[in-house]
Amino acid sequence: MTESSLTMSVKPNVWQGGFSPFRISWGKLMMWYFLVGDSFSFGAFLITYGALRFSYESWPLPTEVFKSFPFLENVEVPLGFVSFMTFTLIMSSVTMVLAVHYGNAERNRYKVAKWLAWTIVGGLIFLSSQAWEWTHLITHGMTMKHNPFGAPAFGWLFFTITGFHGFHVFTGVIINIIILINVLRGVYDRRGSYEMVEKVGLYWHFVDLVWVFVFMAFYLL
């Protein structure tokens, strides 16, 4: 910084201008603040869930609603399938953060592509699991209007909120695929930085983060 010597008595600080006070690029900052905003749209839905649930006398038991597992027709596995889904999502978060790490630390195109591809696979498994779970519940009579397990509100809240989350997973998978193509084409090697992978990674972890609370709301509480 080439400030005039006359202003040097002012204590230098990170807010001085000419660079980011957080030492990160505007792109990453924008992704962070987008996620702050988006957490409020999920917040609105989950708050809706909480307020409505508090106004009800009784609420369906999660262990009663979610007890089926694909290909196991007559066996009851309470919370079994959702455990699998949760595991998939955590796993895909791990693969994503590994992709980010190998991009930032080593700029290793091969490793980034490998872990990003696994992340996409994880996302797709999660989405298909959700599709199966939805189909199963709908065939058993739980829809946007009815719920054979108890309060109808459980039905429409479940489909709306998990649907909104699934929509985020879906867009995350699409964006990951685009980034994977860019990685393979060497776009980020030419640019000299894998920051784009990191930004997408932030979004992906956010989706995982939201699932923690969706999972808590519908499957545990």
Binding site: S4, T7, G37
Partner: protein, 613 residues
């Protein structure tokens, strides 16, 4: 600051628009690349923040005209009840059969007047215009962080505008359930004519609008934080930038909640859910949709809705602070207090929303908490008012049209703010709610005063936008008619409201004891028309001055300190031809040491006293 810079030196340049490294250092290129621009990239799908700002301004002015016209039509009904205006039938057909507007049409007019003015004019038109125009110029940036997202922000706003405009022309007409869009009136297709297709258009238009303001807001925040020029520390930012930054933060946090609420209403209407519906009977038949709660929507709406009114007023705060300091030729009084009070207002914005719901059957304990928090808002608001007055005190005032509108803003903000203290008390709000007292309060404190801030900004920064001045004589006429007229329209509403005249009523004939206000209503309608015609004068002045106004010949026509006046008279893409100037002082060094003004780019002289960092 070597410790700050070491990491950045070796790191590659990742972004070719702003030359900012991954570590966030701004790099100036050797040569600023000049892309060949054609008509479409320069004027339509422009990525230049100044052009986008003008696009927001033009669209906002269009909606201001439409929204104002709508209010005139329903004021005709209120001022001249039962009187036939054949022209209305010619224009609106079945909606004004016999020259008298129908109740359904009245509600459409009121709903769309509110929606358009609150969101499309005073949110997008105000902060969209001035955030785009001023943030990069006053922070010392070549453009917004992401010019592309900035362009998308405008075009989402445009799409929202198109959807809203179409909704006027569909067979059932636009939405009619109030700008707050409460269910069940809006949550059920059967509720009224406007809650058929019109309400869906409204929801989709608002969803597009929210996306637009989020894209814009993210850009504003990151630009202010990350792309300030060297020396432009946060406490050297002009108050306009502070205000626009805080506005964007409010929008970023509150608009997603409205998006959520809008999605839920859309589901209630179209997918058979009942988030906001419970125990409803239509024609004696019990509705299947039940189990939700209509108050829930109001909570979600006002969690946005209250920050929204600060989103409207904060940019006006910023513009007015800048204009008053500049034209009083005095440093702004209490810069730090101004910033802190805006931050305090922003924080309080999120914890006072339920004061809009005192009579909905809110839990009384919750209501009492909200009364307390609401009344706290008076403190930072008063700090700001006293600071403006202290800035004016013994100033060497230049009464430009911008300055007049800024002073008018302070007057209106005081008048409207005082009635807010009445309404913030739940005990007083019970008799006053839903009367014309409320209408008077929010029109003066937020509607008209934010409009004054916006107009002041247009007069002040017109030379920067178009390189010409607006006509000052017309500006003075515009100001006096608008100020006096606005008080004449809205002041009497306080008295009507105090004796209980309800708002949102098509005709007061049903209430015998309100017939005493017939004359006053007619007077207010006439005053409203006068004010509206003064705005046409403004539009004429605006359009005329763009093409034929007096040319600006100096870089700094208002002898201002801030950075936007160091550029060319009409800056091109990239703002500064040479390197971006470095900043050495705050923007309010007016009348210091015998100098009329000292621009921010001027280093401190030996022995000069520092008024501020």
């Amino acid at each position: 600051m070597a410790h700050e810079m070491q990491t950045a030196v070796s790191s590659p340049v990742t972004d070719h628009v702003h030359f900012q490294t991954v570590e966030g250092e701004i790099r100036e290129p050797e040569h600023i690349p000049h892309h060949k621009e054609n008509f479409v990239t320069k004027y339509i799908f422009s990525q230049d923040h100044k052009t986008i700002g003008k696009q927001f301004l033009f669209t906002g002015m269009f909606w201001a005209f439409v929204g104002g016209l709508l209010s005139l039509i329903f004021r005709l009904q209120l001022g001249y009840p039962g009187q036939s205006f054949p022209i209305l039938e010619t224009l609106f057909g079945k909606w004004a059969a016999g020259g008298i507007i129908t109740p359904e049409f009245y509600y459409k007019l009121v709903t769309m007047h509110g929606t358009l003015l609150v969101f499309f004019v005073l949110t997008a038109g105000l902060s969209g215009t001035f955030a785009n125009l001023l943030i990069p110029l006053q922070c010392g940036a070549r453009d917004m962080a992401s010019p592309f997202l900035n362009m998308l922000s405008y075009w989402f706003f445009f799409a929202a505008s198109v959807v809203m405009l179409i909704s006027f022309f569909i067979p059932d007409g636009a939405a009619d359930g109030g700008w707050t869009f409460y269910p069940p009136l809006n949550g059920l297709r059967e509720a009224s004519i406007g809650s058929r297709a019109g309400a869906d258009y409204w929801l989709i238009g608002m969803a597009l609008f929210i996306i637009s303001s989020l894209l814009g807001g993210l850009n504003y925040i990151t630009t202010v934080l990350n792309l300030r020029t060297k020396g432009m520390s946060m406490n050297r930012l002009p108050l306009t930038v502070w205000a626009l930054l805080i506005t964007a933060i409010l929008g970023l946090i509150s608009f997603p909640v409205l998006l959520g609420a809008a999605i839920l209403v859309l589901f209630d209407r179209n997918l058979g859910t009942s988030f906001f519906l419970d125990e409803i009977f239509i024609g004696g038949r019990h509705l299947d949709q039940m189990g939700g709660n209509a108050i829930l929507y109001q909570h979600l709406f006002w969690f946005l809705g209250h920050p929204e009114v600060y989103i409207i007023i904060l940019p006006a705060f910023g513009l007015v602070s800048e204009i008053i300091a500049n034209n009083a030729r005095k440093p702004i009084f209490g810069y730090r207090a101004m910033v802190l009070s805006m931050l305090a207002i922003a924080i309080l914005a999120f914890v006072v929303w339920a004061h809009h719901m005192f009579v909905t059957g809110l839990n009384p304990f919750v209501a009492s908490v909200f009364v307390f928090l609401t009344l706290l808002v008076a403190v930072p608001s008063a700090v700001k008012v006293f600071n403006w007055l202290a800035t004016l005190w013994q100033g060497n005032i230049r009464f430009t049209p911008a300055m007049l509108f800024a002073i008018g803003f302070v007057s209106l903000f005081i008048s409207g703010g005082l009635t807010g203290i009445f309404l913030g008390n739940s005990a007083l709000d019970i008799p006053l709610h839903d009367t014309y007292f409320v209408v008077a309060h929010f029109h003066i404190v937020m509607g008209v005063s934010a409009f004054f801030g916006m107009v002041a900004g247009v007069y002040h920064w017109f030379p920067k936008m178009f390189g010409r001045y607006m006509n000052h004589t017309l500006g003075y006429v515009h100001f006096w008619i608008t100020l006096v007229g606005a008080y004449l329209v809205f002041w009497p509403m306080h008295y009507m409201g105090l004796i209980g005249l309800p708002r949102r009523v098509w005709s007061l004939d049903a209430y015998q004891n309100f017939s005493m206000y017939g004359d006053m209503n007619r007077f207010m309608t006439d005053a409203a028309m006068l004010v509206f015609f003064a705005q046409i004068l403004f539009i004429l002045n605006f359009v005329y001055s763009i093409f034929w106004g007096r040319k600006v010949t100096v870089k700094n026509p208002w002898q201002s300190n801030s950075l936007e006046w160091t550029t060319e008279i009409v800056p091109g893409h990239g703002n500064w031809k040479g390197p971006i100037p470095t900043v050495y002082r705050w923007p309010y060094d007016y009348s210091k040491n015998g100098d009329d003004f000292i621009p921010q780019t001027e280093p401190y002289r030996p022995g000069e006293e520092k008024l501020h960092h």
